[in-house]
């Protein structure tokens, strides 16, 4: 039920406002306030497919919905992951759920990371905090066709070592030499031997073939703004830089206007944008 690729007849058949009951297969805590829900979609959504960067609306019965990016491998069938930061009542309710509990799912929605434009090029995947979650499907997609891409560099920043997501995978990606992984934290203690500082600082350790590089950036908006500036300063073409935006999404199909940002609806036109599409809005107050 991928809306982007559906034919008009399919769209008639699938109402994007209808939520589908799906059981939780697993809950994994990534850190103190972030967890990954693995949903078993074999029976409820057997034909479900998504593109990296798309999101679902997750419905907690009796409470409401929240937009959450899909964080699993798009090539994996039968289950999908959502990595969720516990920040409000809805995400706290999701955090209390366990294996076998049911939630509602509708989606996938929104634009996707254009992974294919990076074929034959080097790739920078720059993320901060929970921003690694919507980019994890990009890494998986590239790893499935690794030979089609040049260097793949994952830059990731977190508040502290304990706050980092997907630590085992970051280590695996780095160890298997298919991905260059640089991780930095804002604060370290004597046990942390890695980088300390902002994620943009990691770019100074990489020699880039800038004109042949595509960058995908996701994290707090201020981090994306500074990272985009730094990438541009290093001669990466602006049209090769993509960001994922976040706003309060309700309907997810561009009707309600909750996620409107200037002339664009994040749920429908985004969340992934090419930098020139979104740059004029990044510095605007009250947007």
């Amino acid at each position: 039920m991928t809306l982007r690729s559906a034919s008009p007849a399919d769209v008639d058949a699938v109402d994007p406002m209808i939520t589908n009951p799906v059981p939780i297969r697993r809950v994994v805590w990534e850190n103190d306030d972030t967890f990954t829900l693995t949903l078993d979609i074999r029976d409820a959504l057997p034909a479900f497919s998504f593109l990296p960067g798309q999101f679902n609306m997750l419905y907690v019965y009796g409470m409401g919905e929240v937009a959450i990016s899909i964080s699993s491998d798009p090539g994996k069938k039968g289950t999908i992951d959502h990595t969720i930061h516990r920040v409000g009542s809805l995400t706290t309710a999701l955090a209390h759920m366990k294996r076998g509990d049911m939630i509602g799912v509708r989606g996938p929605f929104g634009s996707s990371w254009p992974v294919n434009v990076a074929r034959g090029k080097d790739v920078i995947i720059a993320s901060g905090g929970i921003g690694l979650a919507p980019l994890r499907p990009v890494v998986y997609s590239i790893l499935r066709a690794r030979k089609d891409y040049g260097r793949v560099i994952v830059l990731y920043g977190g508040r502290s070592a304990l706050d980092l997501l997907f630590r085992v995978e970051l280590e695996e990606w780095g160890n298997n030499h298919e991905v260059e992984t640089l991780v930095t934290v804002d604060r370290g203690d004597s046990s942390w031997k890695g980088h300390i500082g902002v994620v943009t600082g990691l770019l100074s350790y990489i020699k880039l073939d800038a004109r042949n590089t595509v960058a995908y950036v996701c994290g707090p908006e201020i981090m994306m703004r500074f990272t985009a500036d730094e990438l541009e300063a290093r001669d990466i073409p602006v049209e090769s830089i993509y960001l994922s935006m976040e706003r309060n999404m309700k309907c997810a199909i561009g009707f309600c206007g909750h996620c409107q940002m200037g002339p664009t609806f994040i749920c429908k036109d985004g969340p992934v944008y090419q930098l020139p599409q979104i740059r004029p809005l990044l510095d605007k107050k009250e947007l």
Binding site: S190, W192, I196
Partner: protein, 160 residues
């Protein structure tokens, strides 16, 4: 190591790139190749800031001693970066400690020697100051971003 070898090593460091030949010769007289093992202190809080370092390989963490919490690490300097500017600013004392968190190779530059040369040759002094100001600007900008605690700002419902 001969002056010629040291020159070649220095020329590979971003801090030196674009420096005029005369200024490079002036700088070489104060430079030395150094190496630190993981866990070794490169600089110590409160001690005289008599040097600064151009990191070639490895990584040095800036550390501040906080009572009850031990050494808190606040920033790292890696390949191509500069460690220390207190050698240029009175009272020439380190405000932080720097510990090698990986085996590290660097060029050590004698601060007292450089200060004298900066005083004697204002063109050289200005060139050093411009380059260090750039390092300071980047560090201040990075520190401001760390102060924002941007990863704590994600307040919406978990998308991303």
């Amino acid at each position: 190591m001969g002056t010629e070898d040291l020159t070649q090593i220095l020329l590979q460091h971003p801090f030196i790139q674009g420096l005029g030949e005369d200024h490079l010769k002036t700088l070489i007289g104060c430079a030395k190749n150094v190496r630190f093992q993981e866990g070794e202190y490169v600089i110590r809080e409160g001690e005289a800031a008599s040097k600064f370092f151009l990191i070639r390989t490895g990584r040095v963490a800036l550390e501040v001693e906080v009572s009850g919490h031990g050494g808190l690490r606040i920033q790292t300097s890696g390949p191509g970066e500069v460690l220390g500017w207190s050698w240029l600013i009175a009272p020439y004392r380190w405000h932080y400690s720097g510990v090698a968190v990986a085996d590290t190779r660097a060029i050590s530059l004698d601060g007292e020697c450089l200060r004298k040369k900066c005083e004697a040759d204002s063109s050289f002094g200005y060139e050093m100051l411009k380059r260090l100001a750039e390092v300071m600007e980047r560090r201040v900008e990075a520190t401001r971003m760390q102060l924002i605690d941007m990863y704590g700002l994600t307040t919406t419902g978990g998308h991303k």
